[in-house]
């Protein structure tokens, strides 16, 4: 079994106290808990403080470009469904520039896990308003306070068709670790919104404020992660009360599953050495 140490590459460069450390740690715990191998695990990210995570995680990694990690991650998984693909990134990365890709990744239901490290601000670029910033939040790009309705990522995931939706918090690494483990185990697109405070630029949404706002969803009466309606209800309340844990989970067919069941060899693993095998495709263009 791997150790956290073996799964760590170099020294993280996040600020002391940054919420992102916990996410790294929780992913490592999940990898260990699930007994995954380094070489079978791929961590994909965009650009942002959060998106540096694969720099510090010693599995196959792809630090791609801002806002486009999900399409890359889906490409990786579809090319080789044997791999475990974990996609990480920030709220700017995922819900500003990457918002369209998120909706489509959710509805496509490729079997990957997306962990959103939500600090409600653009940190790597030094503190601008993000799509998840609270209304009224003052930054250099919203000197009078943010005017836009914040994106409710949980609600967006549910309405876009994500088949696994959860919510975690950097202060609760253990819970986050096992939530990630179940997300990875889930067949289909799983999404976890993690409250991961930026201690440097966001003085409004902090460990304390998140702690006050959050509650364990599984401890609510009649907890039923199969219930889409309940999940929607909980998600609707997110801005006031943040439900921790698994909100929703359903089993539907995974993208290209049928086709893959016919072809047990992954596209990336196909033997392509003999082009002539495919000359039959030419026949329909021949004379009759």
């Amino acid at each position: 079994m791997l150790t956290t140490n073996e799964l760590t590459y170099g020294k993280s460069t996040w600020c002391p106290g940054c919420g992102h450390y916990a996410v790294l740690n929780a992913i490592q715990r999940a990898v260990i808990e699930l007994g995954l191998k380094k070489e079978e695990t791929v961590c994909v990210s965009g650009i942002g403080c959060s998106s540096k995570l694969p720099e510090y995680l010693d599995v196959y990694g792809f630090h791609t470009m801002h806002g486009r990690s999900l399409p890359h991650a889906q490409g990786v998984k579809l090319a080789n469904p044997e791999l475990t693909v974990i996609n990480v990134g920030g709220d700017g990365d995922g819900f500003a520039i990457g918002c369209g890709h998120f909706v489509h990744a959710a509805r496509r239901n490729v079997d990957i896990t997306y962990i959103l490290m939500n600090n409600q601000i653009y940190s790597l670029t030094k503190g601008q308003t993000s799509p998840t910033s609270d209304r009224g939040f003052i930054t250099k790009t919203s000197p009078e306070g943010a005017e836009e309705a914040p994106v409710n990522t949980l609600l967006m995931a549910l309405t876009a068709g994500a088949t696994f939706v959860g919510c975690g918090f950097s202060s609760e690494v253990t819970g986050l670790g096992s939530l990630i483990a179940s997300a990875v185990k889930h067949k289909g697109f799983s999404f976890i919104n993690v409250m991961s405070p930026c201690v440097t630029f966001n003085k409004l949404n902090t460990y304390d404020s998140y702690k006050k706002q959050s509650y364990k969803f599984e401890e609510t009466t009649g907890y039923d992660p199969q219930s889409y309606e309940k999940a929607i209800e909980a998600a609707l309340g997110y801005f006031e009360r943040k439900p921790l844990g698994l909100l929703f989970k359903t089993e539907t067919s995974v993208f290209k599953e049928v086709h893959m069941s016919e072809h047990p060899i992954a596209p990336a693993m196909q033997d392509i050495s003999d082009p002539k095998k495919h000359s039959n495709l030419m026949e329909r263009y021949l004379r009759h």
């Binding site: 196959y60 792809f62 090319a79 791999l83 992954a266 596209p267 990336a268 082009p275």
Partner: protein, 587 residues
């Protein structure tokens, strides 16, 4: 190359069945051993608007449209506006009085006109006026005296598969009706099919998009992600049904950025992977092309060009994406750009693009054009045994784990090509990175290492210049020729014919042609030599800015010798047009 040709143009409203009638005619000609090249002209709308289908049936393989028409079929009056300029004294014009009330006659020539009530004949005899097109096919068969066997084969090849035996029978009778009708016209003109023949048994009739698809699958492509766009859509559509059968996966992306990113993800994961698009999509891919360049991920991008800028003319043709393909994306990026001239090259280049992408670990852009992408051509059968698969420095797990070997994904290799491992391989775990990185792949900002990794990354393209998978320039004509012609892509066939036309007219073979098949890296030495031997060199291309000419100038200081011959009206060059322009230039 060709020995005479017969050119047929059928014009009418979009949705009138003109396209399928054209296809049937093509098939019949193909069965009869004619070399074929087709040219569809249709608007960017679904129904209505003038559409035409032109067929050039030649005595040998041919790849450029003609600008003459021997038989013009007019289902509407607009047809005359579009095609009168192509008529000559010997032409036959057939029109359906149902929609053609006034005949607009061309100036300077007097073709022969026949009124044939296709629609009426069809609805009277077959209760469906759509059979008018088959009646028309019969008329043309009569004019050209085509053997019955070929007609039967042509009709049945296309119709049986789709619609069954009964429909075929009706079509046969409709065709016969057309033949008889024409034969009954007194003194009706006949025209002869060209005398030469292609070896039809060893030939294909195929579009560029289809050829690209066959080439890609043969070349080992097992992943495509794309977004529909004219004139590239057919590649993706065909991949959607064929790739799964070859063990691959097709994903319809939400946009072109997602498409190329998914393809890059798949390339990183070890599948030969591609995306197909046209100009607007290629523009959107600029940032990701830079990522593939920086992170050194193999990916193939097929760009079926259409006229820009912006949405431009989605159903017409142009060669205006060259600059973007070569220069797009911020920063300095290793990339390869090649351009195919015909369906044969579409097949071959598509297959080799994957070798280039994997060997040089970079994005490879294959340029085609609407005129080859969406039109059907007769061509020699594709030679699958010519295709090699070369995966470059992709290491095996054994190599990765050889005692004492330390795998560094971006190792400072002398030719710039570092070893590569893919997820699932033990011993190859690494970070693939679009941030500037160390040999290991982890971020660095050190100036000296930045310089070194840039050198390494860019050096690959020098290496690629001498790769056997990179298509070398091709030459046509005499080396003693005074004048040169530089072309790329679809203009090749037209230019080659043009110099034949010129020599037929003038008796002189004054022009030698250089087809630049790889644009990045550019074939500098060959081009320099070619130009140095010529008094003047014409760069013939389909765009406004003289992009190919600009590229040549960037590499070779022969500006004074270079003369641009440009066309940017959405149509392809016909051979005669090039011949005229060249003759005017050297007069």
């Amino acid at each position: 190359m060709t020995s005479g040709s017969i050119n047929i143009a059928i014009g009418g409203e979009a949705g009138d069945g003109i396209l399928s009638a054209g296809e049937i005619l093509c098939k019949i000609f193909f069965e009869s051993g004619a070399g074929l090249c087709t040219y569809k002209n249709f608007p960017s709308r679904i129904r209505g608007g003038h559409t035409s289908y032109s067929i050039r049936a030649a005595g040998g393989y041919c790849s450029s449209r003609s600008c003459e028409t021997d038989i013009l079929v007019a289902f509407d009056e607009e047809t005359f506006d579009f095609h009168n300029g192509e008529l000559k004294d010997s032409s036959i014009v057939i029109y359906d009085p149902a929609k053609v009330k006034n005949i607009k006659k061309p100036e300077g020539c007097s073709p022969t006109y026949y009124e044939i009530p296709f629609a009426e004949l069809a609805s009277k005899n077959f209760s469906k006026h759509l059979y008018k097109n088959t009646v028309m096919v019969g008329v043309i068969a009569a004019i050209l005296n085509i053997e019955d066997a070929h007609i039967v084969k042509g009709l049945s090849a296309l119709i049986k598969a789709k619609k069954g035996e009964d429909v075929l029978k009706i079509n046969m009778s409709a065709c016969e009706l057309g033949m008889e009708h024409y034969r009954k016209i007194e003194g009706a003109k006949r025209l002869a099919m060209p005398s030469g023949k292609i070896d039809a048994a060893d030939s294909l009739m195929i579009t560029g998009n289809e050829a690209v698809t066959l080439g890609a699958i043969a070349g080992g492509c097992r992943f495509i992600a794309a977004y529909p766009i004219s004139p590239a859509t057919e590649i993706f559509e065909m991949m959607c049904s064929e790739l799964p059968k070859a063990g691959g996966t097709a994903m319809q992306a939400e946009d072109e950025i997602a498409a190329i990113c998914a393809a890059i993800g798949a390339g990183f994961a070890g599948a030969r992977s591609m995306t197909s698009t046209s100009g607007p999509g290629l523009s959107l891919m600029a940032e990701a092309i830079g990522l593939a360049g920086c992170a050194e991920v193999p990916v193939v991008i097929v760009d079926a060009q259409r006229p820009g800028p912006s949405t431009g003319l989605p159903t017409k043709t142009e060669q205006g994406d060259l600059y973007h393909a070569i220069f797009c994306s911020h920063g300095d990026i290793p990339r390869i750009v090649i351009a195919a001239a015909d369906v044969g090259e579409c097949f071959e280049f598509a297959a080799n693009a994957f070798n280039l992408a994997e060997i040089y670990q970079c994005p490879v852009i294959l340029l085609t054009e609407q005129v080859i992408a969406q039109n059907k051509f007769a061509a020699p059968k594709f030679d699958y045994s010519n295709i090699e698969i070369n995966r470059g420095r992709l290491l095996s797990e054994a190599e990765l784990n050889k005692p004492g070997y330390k795998f560094l994904r971006y190792e400072f290799a002398s030719d710039g090509v570092s070893p590569r491992a893919i997820p699932s391989q033990a011993g190859g775990v690494h970070l693939c990175n679009g941030n500037e990185h160390l040999e290991s792949g982890r971020i660095t900002e050190d100036p000296e290492l930045r310089r070194k990794i840039t050198d390494k990354r860019m050096k690959k393209i020098e290496a690629a210049a001498s790769s056997k998978y990179l298509p070398a320039p091709k030459f046509y004509g005499d080396d003693a020729a005074r004048y040169g012609v530089i072309v790329m892509g679809s203009n090749t066939g037209a230019a080659v014919e043009a110099i034949d036309i010129i020599s037929a007219k003038t008796g002189r073979r004054d022009f030698k042609i250089m087809q630049t098949r790889s644009l990045m890296p550019f074939c500098v030495e060959a081009a320099a030599e070619f130009i140095s031997k010529r008094e003047k060199v014409f760069v013939v291309e389909n765009n406004y800015s003289a992009q190919l000419c600009g590229l040549v100038k960037m590499h070779i200081p022969a500006h004074g010798k270079l003369v641009s011959v440009l066309k940017y009206d959405g149509m392809s060059f016909a051979a005669a047009e090039i011949a005229d322009r060249l003759m005017t230039e050297v007069r």
